[in-house]
């Protein structure tokens, strides 16, 4: 054992390093948000940003309406596909899944969670784009639906498992069949967790770029038909960042600000909803 003074000094040093680490970890968040805000605001305030499609390269002005519609539609359709299925699998895991099948499903879901997002793009590309022979918003929605699935089903399972068994037993004792107990007692009691999981999954999907590269592909024309190629905010950011036109670069920053705001709003909505339900 070394001298007490040395030990005290080492203790101080380690304490200082720990504070240093946490400060360094917090810096990127602040810097990132600050730059996105400062660089994105002017572009967002230019007329036409929310109401116009992009103009051809080199022509000043233009907006990202195509991408706003695209992101909402792609994520919307994806959620319509993923939510019912994810919730149902979550119900299965919690109510029927304490067996080999349940463990297999959990394992697959965990593997999906760890996969790089670009892999989901390849899935959408092979399953939809190659069979229909053209890029489409629908293929992006399907790719994102599979990406969202594990988040939703795990959130649903976790929420349902937390519902006390006495509630289930009370329902069954009153003569209700198991499916009604599940759908009318257990699921409503766990709704907060299910909705939170769904919102977090949607927020994550809205921010994804890699899966859209070979599915939605991008489209500068305003397109609402899900069977056609479609733009998205994340694609606008990625493509516009790399072109040498200042107005398009400004649009990239503004689209980034809009996307961050969208994701943050979804996250905050989830928190508020949970708080309201818990009261």
């Amino acid at each position: 054992m070394s001298h007490p003074l040395v030990r005290a000094m080492v203790d101080r040093l380690v304490g200082g390093l720990i504070v240093l680490c946490v400060s360094v970890a917090a810096i990127p968040v602040l810097v990132l948000l600050l730059f996105v805000l400062i660089n994105g605001l002017p572009g967002m305030l230019t007329p036409g940003f929310f109401t116009d499609p992009p103009y051809p390269q080199g022509v000043p002005g233009g907006g990202v309406l195509n991408a706003i519609i695209g992101t909402l539609e792609i994520v919307g359709i994806g959620s319509l596909l993923a939510l019912p299925l994810g919730a149902l699998i979550g119900i299965f895991l919690s109510e029927y899944g304490r067996n080999q099948i349940g463990d297999t499903v959990r394992f697959i879901s965990d593997v999906f969670t760890g996969l790089p997002s670009i892999a989901f793009g390849i899935f959408g590309y092979t399953v939809v784009v190659l069979t229909t022979h053209h890029f489409s918003a629908l293929s992006a929605s399907i790719a994102l639906a599979v990406l969202m699935l594990p988040v939703i089903l795990r959130a649903t399972e976790t929420a349902l498992v937390l519902v006390p068994n006495s509630l289930r037993e009370a329902g069954l004792a009153l003569g209700a069949p198991r499916w009604r107990v599940t759908l009318e007692i257990v699921v409503p009691a766990a709704l907060g967790g299910v909705v939170t999981g769904a919102l977090l999954a949607m927020a994550r999907a809205a921010g994804e770029t890699a899966p859209l590269l070979f599915t939605a592909f991008g489209n500068d024309i305003i397109q609402t038909n899900p069977l056609q190629p479609m733009g998205a905010l994340s694609l606008t950011i990625f493509r516009n960042a790399l072109v040498p036109y200042p107005n398009l670069q400004q649009q990239a920053w503004a689209a980034a600000l809009l996307l961050v705001a969208l994701v943050a709003a979804t996250n905050i909505a989830a928190r508020i909803y949970v708080r309201r339900i818990q009261r």
Binding site: G15, A25, P28, N39, V105, A119, F123, T209, A241
Partner: protein, 326 residues
Amino acid sequence: MNKGTAERVAPPPLVAAGRQRRLIAGDRVFEVIAYGAAALILLIAIVFVIALFIPALPAITTFGLGFFISRTWDPVRTQFGALPAIYGTLVTSAIALVIAFPIGLGAALFLAEDSRLRFLRGPLSFAIELLAGIPSVVVGLWAFYILTPLMRDSVDPFLSHTLGFLPLFQGSASGYGFLTAGVVLAIMVLPIMIALSRDVIRAVPRALREASLALGATNAETIWSVILPYARVGITGAVLLSLGRALGETIAVTMVIGNRPQITGSLFASGYTLPSVIANEFTEAVGNVYLGALFYLGVVLVLITIAVNVMARLLVWRFTSEATAG
């Protein structure tokens, strides 16, 4: 009560027979639907695996396993090998972990252990959650315009000035390359590293901590000889899960790595990673073999990440089951 004469009467049915049958039928239907949903995810998983391989087939049949060890990536002569991309993926992920591991562990210790500045815990946890939620393309945009000039003008010259005797920090710095990509990845895996390590450290039994402090150990000594040894397996799992995330990160890396298929010792040099080749060259890929080579890289990437993730899950699972058993 005369037991001998009393007839055993069945209790009256709670509901009419027809209704009871309907109840049971309803349960059957619901059970079938639930099992069907579970079967569907198994089906999706199988289709997923097949879907990864199908577009890669032209390249798999052309290059075979030699794809893994070939250094050529030449679209003009349609000769493709994965080695430069594998190298870039491993190097950038290694840089990310070298940066994110100590910082993340320190931050996790602060959030789980430290009794000082308690009021900062809430806001800091929130900030780290926020960082996890920022889309990777936004991080990429920021890195492309803000971080690359900073690396080119300040960080890289400083490193080559102080550590330039190492081959790692030699060569001209453009700002785009392995080092910048590694820094971006470090930022992106920090939230996972911090959140997982914090939970693992919190799971260390309080009694162990108090026993160590009661024996006269300082906080630093308690961390070093009690908490870290106990949490070691769980922290390894956290590192591996961070690694899994770093390996597959696509867009932000594509925007700063310089996109050149080369293997060099200098961290300042431009490179490529598995996902960034796919993202960058997909639109310009012509011909089945070229396109197939991109998707072959996708197969390689998925295999590597699955291996890393399964290893991580096993470690974390072993840790939590040991912690609850002990």
